[in-house]
């Protein structure tokens, strides 16, 4: 197991190196950030001075090696637009995104699995059909539009929930979180629902098809024949088998939700790191873009590792050392 983890970590360093080079070259190809950030009253010498101050007048490879040289000491550079270290900027915005993503995934799992089970056990019932129709909508409606509709209905028409922003935060183990206050929950409700929608539909569909498959299997029929209660059959024998694909997908999706919550964050003016990434791309703020993507890669590696561990707990056959 340990060697497996070490191997994974080494692999991720390779990925990081390749990714940073690609992003570096990509942003370089788009153009000089100074053309966007420059004071419009500047003259030619002032523009040249500003470009040189950030080292942007050097050849690409020289810039990249300087970056790598600093990166190995943990310094990913200072943001061109914010004038503070890029990594600090991202970490400052991370709790908001993690909170939003966790809330969204909780909604997706806690609602999605029961609904999916229901739809799988009673596929022909009215409720089952409604759930499935709803999940098709959840898949196909664009997040942007759904977000605006949620705001229109729940904030503008009904006036129940705030339109945007994050509520007041309190520190939990030194991390600012907003879900511990009523006002914070009110602010969290709409963006979390919006972000959850796609994954909720996904979980419903996965659970339903897993359930449909499982109830036809011999071990379920055998359990029925043994006279086990329906609760035990569904809760233990069916659910456990259904959970394996759900865990895989939820794990991978959790990474995506964190990294690319940007649409929801933009609509609801949620001060997360997805919006930071978009703002940074808009001004070609390379240190932030590179640092952000490095962080996301690290995050994906960590999540995949956790998913692997969860598998081996759920399914003894994939445990390292198990006989195959």
């Amino acid at each position: 197991m340990l060697s497996h983890i070490v191997h994974r970590v080494l692999q991720s360093f390779g990925v990081l190196a390749v990714m940073s080079l690609l992003v570096f070259a990509g942003v370089y190809a788009v153009g000089n950030p100074m053309d966007i950030l420059v004071n419009p009253q500047s003259d030619q010498s002032e523009i040249a001075r500003a470009t040189a101050a950030l080292g942007l007048d050097r050849p690409l490879f020289e810039q990249y090696f300087i970056f790598i040289g600093h990166a190995v000491t943990g310094d990913l550079g200072k943001s061109f637009a914010f004038n503070v270290p890029a990594i600090g900027l991202i970490l400052e915005r991370m709790p908001a995104t993690l909170e939003l993503a966790t809330a969204a995934m909780l909604i997706a799992v806690l609602l999605g699995i029961p609904l999916g089970l229901w739809a799988g056990l009673k596929p022909r019932s009215a409720a089952g059909r409604t759930i499935m129709a709803g999940s098709v909508l959840g898949f196909s409606l664009p997040t942007f539009w759904v977000g605006l509709m949620l705001i229109l209905v729940f904030s503008v028409w009904l006036g129940w929930l705030p339109t945007s922003g994050r509520g007041p935060t309190v520190n939990l183990l030194g991390i600012p979180v907003s879900f511990l206050t009523a006002e914070g929950l009110r602010h969290l409700a709409l963006p979390a629902a919006n972000l959850a929608l796609f994954n909720l539909s996904l979980v419903i569909r996965l659970t339903r098809s897993g359930t449909r498959e499982a109830i036809g299997q011999d071990y379920v029929r055998f359990a029925r024949a043994k006279g086990l209660t329906e609760t035990r059959i569904v809760g233990v024998h069916v659910l456990r088998n259904v959970l394996v694909p759900v865990v895989t997908v939820v794990g991978v999706e959790f990474g995506s939700v964190i990294a690319f919550a940007v649409v929801t964050e933009s609509i609801f003016a949620w001060p997360g790191m997805g919006r930071l990434l978009i703002d940074s791309i808009n001004v070609l703020d390379r240190p932030v873009i590179v640092a952000y993507l490095c962080l996301v890669v690290a995050l994906f590696v960590a999540i995949n590792l956790l998913v692997d561990l969860a598998y081996s707990w759920l399914d003894p056959r994939v445990r390292p050392g198990a006989t195959r």
């Binding site: 153009g31 000089n32 419009p40």
Partner: protein, 516 residues
């Protein structure tokens, strides 16, 4: 569960009417990157800085220079400017403003790492403190723009800002100014909170507490206003104007902005990118170098139609590079009348009876309705035989390409508080030594315009300077150095109980909102 739901949905108090002395919540479109007033010269940052800090000179709603922390200024001799400071102005920490703070602030603009405000102070070669309230600034050569440049230099407290980095401004430690509001809190990407400065020299602001919320998505910002969560918003999309005007609870405030939208056209290369004949073969010579062609393209554009229909009235057809209230505007120039017949005649006369093809480059996320405007202009050009293919790019890809000279006919926008400054950047012959033509992507060059501008910048007499700036404007516009399209109209929307004095420079100032 019911109680929880009731707590969660307790939203009925949102539509509160703003009353004097209460809080004011304003929705802003763009995020603030740094609190340091001497770092970047970008509008969102400067907008916040104007609440906490002052400059020696201010500008009024029409973008005209007025006294700020300096009550008066004059040129003692052609290279020396004397500023008299307002007496009895106090920083938020209680210390009195003196000339040392001004000198410190001017010097700090040159020292901030990666700061971009040096352009406003580098020409000052010597600073002399005559007494605590009198300051003399010397330039190497006669330079009329010192009072204008100092409008961009915020005065920070020497005591609070000495040895302070950008982090100290973001945290508020160094955010000690003389402005109408004290800094309270900066949550990056979310909000900026300010508290009233009761002792403000310009009169006590009406609002106890001001919150600037950053809501970048247009519909969400409008939803915030409609739900009552925000008291006022800026940058109202033109498509929503009608809806807001119908709403009895809301009203708008509009002002012709200083931002002028125009097309620059390649006039310096024999072969410019994207120019071809109707069959797609590159042209032997660059038609845009012919004055008749430039005039024809200008006559082919129906500015009135764009302003009325595409912009829903939120644009004013332009004849100048600066908008009407701005210093150096030449009122005798009139917007080009729409005349496709004459445009065709001119094209035929210039040797293009069948027109030609070109690429029309534009941004798609920078100026109001920019891509739609480009499409409309392309259709109008098609009517006179010029086949324009629209290439719309996000601004981060657009500007670097523009600077590299990859466009022949392209949209651009510029805001300036004097005509000579706009001309210096956009149409003066590019000359790095003089700082002329840094954004002259047309490659236009007219020695007479350059000479007039040089005289204007050396003239410390405002009347004479304005006459020179106007003359330079007339020359450049008659040559179609660029083709002006329109001046944007800036729009704010707010609750009926509020009033705002809208500003040409598009800034949203909390202290200029009043309860009616």
């Amino acid at each position: 569960m019911r109680r929880l739901l009731r707590v969660l949905f307790a939203g009925s108090t949102l539509w509160a009417l703003p009353v004097p002395g209460a809080d004011l919540r304003i929705g802003r479109a763009a995020g603030v990157t740094s609190m340091d007033p001497h770092f970047l010269n970008i509008a969102p940052n400067i907008n916040i800085a104007w609440h906490v800090f002052d400059a020696l000179t201010h500008v009024d709603e029409d973008a005209r220079l007025i006294p700020g922390l300096a009550t008066s200024w004059r040129a003692v001799d052609p290279t020396t400017w004397e500023f008299r400071l307002r007496r009895g102005v106090h920083f938020h920490d209680g210390a009195e403003l003196v000339a040392e703070d001004v000198v410190f602030s001017i010097e700090r603009t040159l020292k901030v790492p990666n700061g971009q405000l040096g352009i406003f102070t580098r020409r000052i070669v010597a600073k002399e403190i005559v007494d605590p309230y009198t300051l003399r600034l010397k330039t190497a050569t006669p330079y009329a723009m010192v009072p204008y440049d100092l409008n961009s230099v915020f005065i920070v407290s020497r005591k609070a800002a000495a040895r302070s980095g950008p982090e100290d401004f973001d945290s508020g430690k160094a955010m000690i100014g003389t402005g109408p509001f004290r800094f309270a809190r900066f949550a990056r990407g979310d909000r900026v909170e300010l508290a009233r400065n009761d002792g403000y020299w310009g009169g006590k602001p009406a609002w106890e507490k001001v919150t600037f919320r950053i809501v970048p998505t247009d519909p969400a910002r409008l939803a915030g206003l409609l739900s009552g969560e925000l008291d006022a918003i800026e940058q109202v999309p033109t498509a929503d104007l009608a809806r807001i005007r119908r709403d009895a609870r809301l009203q708008t405030a509009q002002k012709v902005s200083w931002r002028t939208i125009f097309f620059y056209l390649d006039q310096y290369r024999d072969r410019a990118p994207g120019l071809a004949d109707q069959a797609g073969k590159p042209l032997a010579r660059n038609p845009l170098r012919d004055l008749r062609v430039r005039r024809a393209l200008s006559e082919a554009i129906n500015r009135q139609a764009i302003a009325e229909r595409l912009m829903d009235g939120a644009a004013l057809p332009a004849s100048n590079l600066v908008s009407p209230s701005v210093f150096g505007y030449a009122p005798d120039l009139k917007p080009e009348p729409y005349d496709p017949g004459d445009a065709k005649r001119l094209l035929a006369e210039a040797g293009y009876p069948d027109g030609f093809a070109m690429t029309l480059s534009a941004t798609n996320n920078r100026y109001v309705n920019d891509e739609q405007i480009a499409q409309a202009v392309a259709q109008m050009l098609a009517r006179v035989g010029v086949r324009a293919r629209v290439e719309a790019l996000p601004v981060n890809a657009y500007l670097p390409k523009g600077r590299k000279g990859e466009f022949a006919f392209a949209m651009f926008g510029w805001g300036s508080f004097s005509g000579d400054l706009a001309l210096r950047a956009l149409v003066a012959t590019a000359d790095p030594d003089k700082g002329f033509g840094a954004f002259n992507w047309s490659g236009y060059s007219n020695p007479r315009v350059d000479a007039l501008l040089e005289r204007a910048f050396a003239s410390t007499d405002e009347k004479q300077r304005e006459a020179l700036a106007r003359e330079a404007m007339r020359l450049a516009m008659r040559d179609y150095a660029v083709i002006p399209l329109h001046h944007q109209v800036a729009t704010w929307a707010m609750k009926k109980a509020l009033g705002y004095a809208p500003r040409t420079d598009e800034f949203t100032f909390a202290h200029h909102f009043r309860a009616q």
